[in-house]
Amino acid sequence: MLKEIEISLKSLTFWIVALIIGGFLFSQFSGTPLNEPKPNQENYGSVQATDQETIIAQTMRNLYIQHEENTYDTYPFVFLKEVKLSSGEQAKVKKILEEAIGQPLDSLQFETMIQTEQGYFVESDFKLPIVSSYDYSKFKQDMAKVATIIGRGSDFEENKYAISATKAQTYQGAKAEFDKIKEKDHVVGAYARLISDYLVIILSLAPVFLAATVLVRDQRAMSQDTIFTKKTSTFKLVGTRYLSVVILMTLVASIVAIMPTAQSMFVASKLGVFGNPLIVYAYLAVWLIPSILAVTGISFLITSIFGGIVSVLTAFVIWFTSLNLGATKLDGFAGWNLIPRFNQVGARSAFEAMLPQFINNRMLWSAIGIACFLLSVVVINLKRKGVLRIGKNE
């Protein structure tokens, strides 16, 4: 194991990867201040709303705006695609809106749209007058119809609108959140989530380069046949390499996190709290190691079957897709995404709400990584026995 780590430490690939991880974190992380909320502030930010009334009101308002402009935002795969509906489809959406407000849509238009030099905009505090008989089950049915009309990836799919409604945070809410960050997060935890958010982006891609080169190293040195004749078991042979990549990537993440951890400890001390750095490292371990295990495992499996090029390309496609699928909910979303996002400082309650989902996510990707690694052992063992003859020299 130590020998494997030593070999990787001497490789150019490792140092380039390490530099890129460090550079990425420093280019993204800035010491966002964490201020105690004061009474009578202009605003205290916003929080996710979970009550059905707010979800209906905000989703219908969004539908109204997109209908008026006949420009519906969708994310069919990766990028924003603005859909324009035909007049027949627009009429169907209009009917749904009119049923919800119990009056013709045209009667609302001039009261709600304000004209500026740039064009027409809906007033920021505008609310559609939803009739009281319009309940959540009817709303869900209507949104399913709208989602079908617009097409895949619109704002009117249940998994989108159910988590998109927000409400203004109150002073009491903001104060309670701040106290929680001081007491439970010791302040540094609030920053740890942001540090983890940045690092998981780069660590969901970077390990593939080290993993792929580690595995093709013997082929390049033309020593594969010699190594295959050794008594050492394939599990030990591949396992030590797998672990060495995971350990090295974790080590790099731990080292580059020292500076932002120190910054967050400084903020904590200014707020009269001792920011225990172990909190940051606990977050990093839980957040990052599953992604490293997964990317390394998948890379080992694909490299052992198809070679390093396919492995890198596959890892990039998984990374790119995960990144873009998570891009619509940067301030806290795990789902089953390889890259769970939490791009904000603080908001412990929001993190607690997504915690069960987050834990399942991390367990899934750890399991995928280990399963892929075990499969790669099987593949390499078959190659070693001469049963399989696949893969290219790279």
Binding site: S27, F79, L80, I309
Partner: protein, 208 residues
Amino acid sequence: MNKILFNFVRFDFWYFAVICLIVTLTLPLFVGMNDLSLKESAIVMERIFTLIGTLIFLPLFLPETNEATFQLIKTKKSPIQLLFLLRAFLIIASSLLLLFIHLKMLETSSEIDFQQFFLIEAANVFFLGGMLTLGYAMTKQVILGMMFPIFYYSYCLFVGNSYQYLGAFYLFHFSRFDDPSHFWLLGLTGLLMLGMGIYIRSNHNSFD
């Protein structure tokens, strides 16, 4: 020389070309390409096609990954530089053809400025392709070579408002509606890196 070039197409280049062509043709299944505004078309082109265009540069040195093959080809009468240049020409022509197909597909249902899009995107593809070639030549490792354009592309995705510091070398100028008039610098740098890569690989210099 003809035979070596023919073997390059037969054993290494064709499947990259076919994969790139299939991805280009099937792109509308994954990414919205209808009714796009000028900016949205530029986003699809700069963020997606750039990757496809760069991928086709991968096979340039692939046949000689094995050192013994490299030494064998060096013993041939025709200079290896010429072989690499012919391959590079084939790759550049293919990438431009793919770009032409991509833009024609975009043009049928979305708003684009064909000429401007073509020139800007060709510059992007040459730049990342050149970076891939130079990285590959310097390290003699295809995986390391791939690392440079992938991380540069990723850096451009995350650079945010600091993109201005990258000047002409920022990859997504056009989709930000910035002045992309310096695209020629990006393209020329790419071709220069491509030439340097071929020179280094031909002369067998590397960081090995």
